[in-house]
Amino acid sequence: MKTWKSLGERRGLVRIRKPEFDEELPVGESVRQISRRDFFRFSGIGFAAGLALGCKSKVVEKAMPYLNAQEGLTPGVAQWYATVCGGCSAGCGVLAKSRDGRPIKLEGNPDHPVSRGGLCAIGQAQTRGLYDESRLRGPRVDGKDVAWPELDGDLAQRFAELRASGAAVRVLSGTLTSPTLKASIQAFLGTFKDGRLVQADAFSCAALAGAYERTHGQKLIPRYRLEEADLIIGIEADFLGTWIDPVGFTRAYASRRGPDRARPMSKHIQVESGMSLTGSNADERVRLAPSEVLPFLETLAQRLGLALDVGALSSPLMAKAEAIAHALEQHRGHGLVLCGLNDLRAQELCARINHVLGHKGSTVDLANPSLQKQGDDGALEALVREMSQGKVAALVLLGSNPLYDQPVAFAAAFGKVPIRISMALTADESAAQCTHLAPDHHWLETWRDSEPLTGTVALGQPLLNSLFNTRDAVETFGAWSGRPASALQAIQNRWKADVFPRQKNMGDADSFWNATLQKGAAEVGAGTAPRYQEGRVEGTTRAARTAGYELLLYGKVGIGDGRHAHLPFLQELPDPITKATWDNYVQVSPAAAARLGLEQGDLLRVRPEGHPLELELPVVVQPGLDDRTLAVALGYGRTAGGKAGLGVGKNAYPWRTFSTGFLAADPAPLQVRKGSGRIQLACTQDHHSLEGRELVREMALAPYLRDPASARPHEPTGPSVYGEHPHGQHRWAMVIDLSACTGCSGCVVGCQMENNIPVVGRDEVARKREMHWLRIDRYYTGSEAEPGVVHQPMMCQQCDQAPCENVCPVLATVHSEEGLNQQVYNRCVGTRYCANNCPYKVRRFNWWEYPHQSELERLGLNPDVTVRSRGVMEKCSFCVQRLMVAKSTAKSEGRDLKDGEALPACMQSCPAQAIVFGDVQDPESRISQVMRDPKRFLVLGELGIGPAVSYLTKIRNGGSISEASPHEASRARPTGGLAIDGGATEAQGGHHGA
C-alpha cells in the first residue's frame, strides 16, 4: 500500500524533502531501539502494528527568508497597495492586500472617485485570475513556445515589410482607459503608413456616444450622477449590474435609497423587458417587449414636448409612458433618464429628454464625461469589412476576444489577415487562431495609469513581479515600434509631461506621483461641457410587434461579457435574480411557460428567424419577465481560455447583428420549439416565496415618514430562562440595510476570497452543497407577473443564544467573549448537528476534500484562514481574522480599537454601503446608532436566539408615480396625475408576511 508521509504530500504539496534527515531526533532513535528489543523479546504481533504506526519518515521542511531586508517589508504583515482594477473597463480603484510580496485580496479603495470603496464580484475574483493555471506561460509563434527576442525578431522583420509596403495594421482592443497604453499603441501604429486603433466593447455603448455626437457634437458618454437624481427612469439599462460603471452607479444610487439619508429617498422606475438586477431594485417596473421600448421612449419624448413621429403602442403602456412623463416634469432638473439600448434613435431621444428636462449639469455631467466605454461599433464594422476584403495585413488583439464575442462574420474575415497577434492572458478563442501570442501581464503585475472619467486620473501599480514569461503591453508595443521603454518609465514620463501640469494642488511632480500612488487616484482639471444642438431625431419609428417571442440578450452580474468565464468563483456565483449557477438558460415568463407547456429545466430550442444558429437551452421560469420576451445571457459557451469556463452554457453572441449600425440582439422574431428532455439547473435557491413568513419586512415610504415608529411591528420578546451572559471588551454586531442592498453579490465573492471558501462545481451546487458563507436570499412578493423583489444577505447571525453551540458534542462551536459564534475547524468531527439545528441554514459542511492541488492557486489563498479539510463544518466568522489583526494593531499602538477599524470583508467592499458592523458596547459607534433605528428587525427573532445580525426594513418609494416623493408631500401637494398601476401592477408598499 502506498502511504503518504504527510497530508501535504497526499495533497500534492510540492516540497523539497529528503527521506530521513541525517541527524534527526536522537531521543526518538534510542526509544526506537528499546522498543525493538522489547518487541523481539516477545513475538512479532505487537512489533508489526507498532512499527507500522510509529515509524514514518519525516518531512524536512525548508525555511527560506528574504535575502535582503527592506524597510517596511515584514513577512507575515500585510501591506495595502492602491491600484486600479483591470477586471473591466470601469476603472474602479482597489486596495490590494499584499502578504509576503504577493497579492491575496482585493478591496474597494474609498479614496477613488469612481468606486468610492466599492468593488463588484468580478473585481473581487481578480486575484484568482492572476493565479490561474490556464494563463499563458510565455510568448508563442505558430503554436510553439519561443523567447521574447525570438518573437520580437520575427515580428520586426514582418513589420518592416509592412512598413515598406504601406499595408494596413490594426490594433483591436477593448476600451482602453490607460492613456499611456493608448499612446504606446498609437506610437506603434504611427510607424506604419496605415495604422489604426479600433476599440470595441462586447457590451457596447457606442450608440450612446453616437447620440451625443448628434446632440452635442461630440462623441462622449456623460457621467451620470445618480446621487443627484430624485427620480431615476431606467430604460433597459442595468446600471446596477452590468452597464458602464455598475459599482460607481450602485454607490451613488444607494446613497439616496432609504428614508434616513442626508437627502430624500429617490424614486426609481425601471422600464425593461427582462428582470434585471436593477429592475429588481426599482420602486416600480414597467414590463414591455424589446420592440416596444423604442415606441415607449418616443411616446415619452413626445409627451415631454419633443416633436417626432411616434410608433404605435398599446394603450396601457401609453398610459404608463404618460405617467412617467408627468413625473419627470414634476422633477424637472432632478430626474434622470438612462437608456441601455445600443440604438442610436433611442439614445438620442434619451439625450434630448435629459436636455429638455434640464438634467444637464445636475444629473447628467457632460463636463467630466466617462471614458469607461470607448468602443466604436462603426469602426469595428469597418474593420470586419476591411479584413474580409483582405486589406488588413496585421491585426493585434489586446484585451479583446472577437472570435468569441463578435458576430460570425468576424471569424470568417479574421482568417484573411496574414499576421494575427494576440496579447491575451489565456489561450482564448481568438488567441487559438492567432499566429503570434505575446501575452500581456495580468493587471496585478503591471504599471498602468488610468483615466476612467475625464479629470480623474489613477495609477495602478504591480503587486508582484510577473509570475510567467509575459510582458507588459506597453513594453511590447514599445519594443515593436523600436522605442523600448519600461512601462513604469513610460507612465512616469507621461505623468510629468501631461498629468502633473493639469493639477494644481501639489508643487512637485514626485510628491504628486507618490501621493497619487498611495491614494490611488487624483482629480485634475475638468473640461467644459459641449453645447446642445437642436436637430431632428435620427431614424424612423419602428412599429412594436404585438405577437411572437422576442429576444433579449443580457449580461449577468458575475460573468459579465464572459471574459472572466474561466474563473470558477464567478461561474459559481448565483445570479442575483435566478439564483442559477454554472449555466446560461433561456428565461421565460410564467405566463409564457404555461402557454408553451414548459417547466424549469426543460430544454428549449431557440433561434431568431432566419439566423443559422439555433441554441438548445434550459428554461428558467422568471417572474417579472415580459410575457413575449425570451432572455438569454451572454458570456457563456466559452470554447477556450480556461478549464472552468469550457462547455458551461451556450454562446449567444452570434445572435447579435450590426443591422441597426450598432451591435444589438437580432430583432427578428424568435422561433421556439421544445427540445428533448430536461436538465437539472444548479440553482442555490428553489423556493421564491416567503410562504407568508415575516422574514423580510417591507414598508412604503409614505407611511414610514408619517410615523417612523410604525416600522417596528410588535415584537414579542419572551423572557429568557438563563438571562444574558457576560461579554468581554467588545460585542460585535451587524446591521444590513435592505433598502440599500441591491443584491449585486460583490460581498459573496469577497467573502469567498477572504475566507478561502472553495468552489464546488456544478454538480455539487445542483446537490445543494454550495459553500458560500454569505448568500443573498431573493424572495418574490406579490404576483408572478409583476413581483416585488427583496434581496436579503444571509450569513451566520452569530446568535447570542446560538442553537448550534448547544448541540456540538465536542465543543467545536462555542461562544466567544465578544459575542461571536466560533467554529473551531480542527476540533470539529463533523456530526452536522449544528447545521441541522441552525434556523438560518448558514452552516456549510465540507462534503469532500475540495481540491487544492495547484500550487499556483494556493498562492491566492488567505494565509490567515485555515483551509478546511473534508468532514468539517464551517461558516461565517464575522471575519474574525480581520478583527484579530485590527485589535492587535490597536494594542500595539497602545490605544483602543477605533470604530470602523475592524471590518468584515463583505462590509468593506459593499458598493451600496448596506452593511454596518461594529462594537455595540461602544455607545458612540455607528453600529450603536443604527441599532436604535426603528426600522431594525431580527430574522426569526421570535425564536429567542438573539441573533447579532439585524436588518433594516426595506422601504419602497412606492405608490403611484404622481406622489413620487413623499418627502415633498408636505410641501407640495401633488396635482392629480395618471396612476402608473394600470392593471397588473400590485401596490408593493406595506407588504407584510402573513
Binding site: 504481533i45 480542527n826 484579530m884 500595539s892
Partner: protein
Amino acid sequence: MNLRTVAITGAVALGASLMIFALSLDTRLLGDQSGYKPAQPIPYSHALHAGELKIDCLFCHTAAETSRHAGIPPLSTCMKCHETVTNKAGTPLGKSDPSPEIQKLRETYTSGRGFEWVRIHRLPAYVEFPHSRHIQAGVACQSCHGEVQGMERVEQAKALTMGECLTCHREENQKQQLAGRLPQAPADCSACHH
C-alpha cells in the same frame, strides 16, 4: 498447546492492542517535534551569538516585534557584522584565521541565492500564533523556545501544545485579575483558530 504460550501470546496481543490504542490517542500533538534538532546549512551557533556575545534576539529576529512570524533573518542581517568579521571565533586581535563557514555565508550572500534553512518550529496550520503580541506583552522568547542562547544547534525545546498555551494564558489572566486589571491573554477559541 501449552497454556503458558497461550497466555503470553494473549498478553502480547493485549499489549499491542493497548499500544495501538495509546498511539491512536494523541500521545503527541501536531507540530510537537520537541527534540527536533536538525543540522543547518551552516553551523550557526546561538550559543556564541546570543549567549557569549549577548546579541539581543530581536536584533536579528526583527519581525517578531511586528509580525505573526518571528522570522529567520535575511542574510543581509548577517552581513551587518560579517562584512567585517571573517575570522573564526576566538581568534586573537590582529591575527587572521578566516572561518570557512563565514566565507560560505559571504559567498552565498553575494551569489544572491541565500541558504535553505531547515525549519524547526511549525505549528499546525490551524493555529495562529502571533509573535508580535507576545513580544509586546513582554513574554520572554525562552518561555516557549527554551534556552536558545545556550544551544550550539537549535532544537525544539517544548512540545508547544495547546495545553501549554492555555496554562500560560490562564496564569497571566489570573495575575491581571488579582491586580484588578482586565485580562489581556485571550481565552477565546477564535483568538488562535480561524
